[in-house]
């Protein structure tokens, strides 16, 4: 210790600082050392030659699995380009992105908050078109299936603004279940999907078998949107068909153009949840857990069934490989007449480039890769069924786990592309801007009914029907007063067959 004693305090501080800096540099080097898994092709874009940092924010989760590996490889291939990747949950994106845009420091690439439409972003001048930054954009777009690039959704004024690089053909309320518990209860949902009655019975039986150690059904009840998603999809499969997920499209029957909260299917679905609660088959404390927590409880054996999405599959397979779980359709109606679920547009996970971004060329290069078969295949390999790739060849090429492949096939069978009122009349975007959610909203009413704070399902659903309809009409009036030209008929699609895909020619036939 002699030489240490001889050091003065200043020398000690300098030494510690140098050691710290050296250690930090070592960690930085290690980061690039093993990032060669993903080959980075040349898209033909002109990339900057000086040092740039690309800032990217999205909702993370399964996307982060791919992007972290991809950005490591990208930075290794382009030493002058650094990528700062921020995977944030949706409620933080709702704060960070608008604030960044307001003071001009937004990320170069971002996803829009869930409550902001693409049309709003374009009309406010937040985003720039991709036409100038993606090389050979027409050729590149041609590879995408129909219904992905839609005017009013991704394309505005003849230019493309957004890249929806994953498929929207998936739903977040299919059944994921503990095979052992269901087998003990005498059910095999994979071979025969559960109906509303057998679902209730299975939950009850599992709870009885569990005797307090586990329950039949679990969900993330603190996460408001889950209540709406589950009721909506149960009802849609039972016949209350409708499309889309926004307030201006979901829960509307496009054959009549009316909201359908008071349809017997919606009321029946809510009552099914209440029956599960009254049977005691629901995990106690659902109202205080969110969806990721519910997802984490399943491999711990807390419940037999959960209704969530395909994103559970890779996470459980990776983190709980010994968890024997199965995938099946969400509960279908007792009469056996199963209706398809409908989506309003083909693509999901839209990415946008900030209007004021100085690194648009880099973003364009990355977007280009995400839209090629190689990029989509790499995506599928790392992310799998959680966020299905949008190019069909990628699904065929990728090596997916059997459960992931099963889920994707199930989606192809059960989901159809339906009409989108925004495509038919772009002025409806003005209505979206005027719409306010009538509190208590649909998901809050369902939660309130479940929590026992509200009584009389039929009365509440009728009240929802009246309030939402009134709000839609008020928003239409307000939009028309500002120069839009929208009528309730824009939501009526008489030539829609819910069991078939709605294509571009169907819009023309209207």
């Amino acid at each position: 210790m002699n030489w240490l004693d001889k050091l003065s305090r200043r020398q000690m501080i300098k030494l510690m600082g140098a050691t710290g800096a050296g250690a930090f540099l070592l960690t930085q080097m290690g980061q690039y050392a093993d990032a060669q898994d993903i080959p980075i092709p040349d898209s033909g874009a002109t990339l900057p030659t000086d040092d740039v940092t690309l800032r990217w924010v999205d909702s993370g989760d399964q996307k982060a699995v791919f992007f972290k590996a991809y950005f490591d490889a990208y930075q290794a291939a382009h030493p002058n380009i650094k990528v700062a990747y921020d995977p944030l949950p949706w409620n933080e994106i709702a704060q960070v992105v608008p604030l960044g845009i307001r003071n001009g420091t937004a990320h170069d690439v971002f996803q829009l908050p869930l409550s902001v439409s693409g049309a709003q972003a374009v009309s406010e001048g937040w985003v720039q078109p991709l036409d100038d930054v993606i090389p050979n954009i027409e050729e590149w777009k041609a590879k995408f299936p129909a219904g992905v690039f839609l005017p009013g959704i991704t394309d505005f004024d003849g230019k493309t603004y957004s890249l929806p690089f994953t498929s929207a053909k998936r739903y977040g309320t299919h059944l994921l279940y503990n095979k052992e518990m269901l087998a003990e209860a005498g059910y095999d949902p994979e071979s025969e999907p559960l109906t509303w009655s057998t679902f209730r019975d299975a939950a009850k039986t599992i709870t009885e078998q569990g005797n307090g150690a586990y329950y039949g059904f679990i969900m993330g009840g603190n996460q408001i949107n889950r209540w709406a998603d589950i009721v909506r999809n149960l009802a849609r499969m039972a016949g209350a068909v409708g499309g889309g997920g926004a307030q201006v499209t979901a829960d509307i029957d496009f054959r009549t153009g009316e909201y359908q909260f008071n349809s017997e299917e919606y009321i029946g679905a809510v009552e099914l949840l209440l029956q599960l609660r009254d049977d005691g088959s629901v995990f106690p404390g659902v109202l205080s857990i969110n969806a990721p927590q519910a997802r984490a409880f399943m491999p711990q054996g807390a419940a037999g069934m959960i209704m969530q999405g395909p994103w559970n599959i890779p996470q459980w397979e990776r983190e709980n490989p010994e968890f024997d779980f199965g995938i099946a359709s969400g509960p279908v109606p007792d009469d056996g007449d199963v209706w398809p679920l409908t989506i309003s547009e083909g693509g999901a996970n839209g990415l946008w480039i900030f209007e004021g971004s100085p690194n648009a060329a880099v973003a364009g290069d990355i977007f280009h890769y995400l839209g090629t078969v190689e990029g989509q295949t790499q995506w599928a390999n790392l992310v799998g069924a959680a966020d299905a790739p949008i190019l069909p060849e990628a699904i065929a090429n990728a090596d997916l786990s059997p459960r992931a492949a099963q889920a994707l096939n199930m989606f192809n069978e059960q989901i159809r592309v339906g009409p989108n009122p925004v495509v038919r009349n772009p002025d409806i975007v003005q209505v979206t801007l005027e719409l306010r959610a009538p509190e208590p909203t649909f998901p809050q009413v369902v939660q309130g009914l479940y929590a026992g704070e509200l009584e009389d399902v039929a009365a509440q659903m009728n009240d929802l029907q009246d309030r939402y309809t009134a709000e839609l009409e008020r928003a239409i009036e307000a939009a028309n007063a500002k120069g839009a030209s929208v009528t309730r008929d824009d939501w009526v699609f008489p030539n829609w067959d819910p069991r078939a895909d709605y294509g571009a020619s169907d819009y023309e036939d209207l």
Partner: protein, 320 residues
């Protein structure tokens, strides 16, 4: 001002004229060190307050370029919103329940810990104070696990002791969610109120205690005739601080229940957050939320002023 009269032997030094600038210049180093704090407070406390008064008159989502001036439209909507009054009521309940319990319990503990004979008093003081310095959001998350009806320790004890047959969903049941949050709030901020009481107790001269004991006073008489009268001025201040802190409960409520289930634990700050940022799927409305905040602030100010007038009136009647 008279000039020093050097002819007389009495030195009468009179100071130069007092002007504001001279005063500031005299204490310039104090002001210089205060400047960073003032700037930050101006930017992060005063500017948002004044800005929210302005935003309250706008129909604005918070991030779009279009801001329409709608006068008192937001305030009219706020007054007509049942959910606003529900949140208002819950905030008042929160304060009315948590403040007396917190002040009373911490006073009792402070009196006990004030005893110099208690050798471990500093250790206990530290233990009671540790919750105060923990991060509120983390506490909220951990508490939601502790109160969980599935494998949660609290429910485990209740069920094992046979007090209840089925676990209670503390945070997921509308009847218990607010009270559970109040309980955790009291536990968390108990320590700081106790420290305030300790500080005020230490202004009571110890010879007063001795004198009272010599006169034969027991613990209760000691409290009622010596401690309590001397503590009254402090308790007014501590009451004010505790009331204000009971209105700043956002982090705790948001992490434990997010205002749920079905608004049963939604206090004013959670209401403002929900309407401002549209977290439950609704459209963000910063203008409306600012109006709600301004309205609530004014209402609380009115209540405080009324309370102050009532206390003053009571004291005047006592004195006369």
């Amino acid at each position: 001002m008279a000039v020093p009269n050097l002819s007389t032997s009495t030195t009468q030094y009179t100071k130069p004229p007092k002007s504001l600038w001279r005063e500031i210049w005299k204490y310039r180093w104090c002001y210089l060190f205060m400047l960073p704090s003032l700037i930050l407070t101006g930017m992060f406390t005063f500017y948002p307050i004044f800005a929210s008064w302005y935003f309250a008159f706008l129909d604005w989502s918070g991030f779009t370029a279009t801001r329409d001036f709608i006068g008192i439209g937001n305030f009219q909507e706020v007054i007509g919103d049942n959910l606003f009054w529900g949140a208002f009521r819950r905030s008042l309940i929160f304060t009315a329940i948590s403040v007396p319990i917190q002040m009373l319990l911490s006073l009792i503990v402070a009196i006990v810990l004030n005893d110099k004979a208690l050798k471990l008093a500093p250790v206990f003081r530290t233990f009671f104070f540790i919750p105060v310095v923990t991060t509120t959001a983390i506490v909220g998350i951990v508490m939601s696990f502790i109160f969980s009806p599935f494998n949660g320790p609290i429910n485990g004890i209740l069920v094992d002791l046979g007090i209840v047959s089925r676990p209670i969903d503390f945070l997921g049941s509308a009847a218990t969610s607010l009270w559970t949050v109040i309980g955790v709030f009291i536990w968390k901020w108990f320590g700081i109120t106790m420290i305030y009481w300790l500080a005020s107790l230490q202004t009571v001269p110890s010879d007063l205690y001795e004198a009272a004991r010599l006169d034969g006073a027991g613990r209760w008489e000691l409290f009622r005739y010596i401690i309590f009268p001397l503590l009254v001025p402090f308790s007014i201040v501590i009451l004010l601080i505790t009331v204000v802190s009971s209105l700043n409960v956002f982090a705790l409520v948001q992490t434990m229940t997010a205002g749920g289930p079905f608004y049963s634990s939604e206090v004013m700050e959670v209401y403002i957050y929900r309407t401002a940022f549209g977290t439950s799927g609704s459209v963000p409305r910063l203008g409306y939320a600012s109006a709600a905040g301004v309205f609530f602030g004014i209402a609380v100010m009115i209540i405080t002023v009324l309370q102050g007038l009532a206390v003053r009136g009571m004291r005047e009647r006592q004195a006369s």
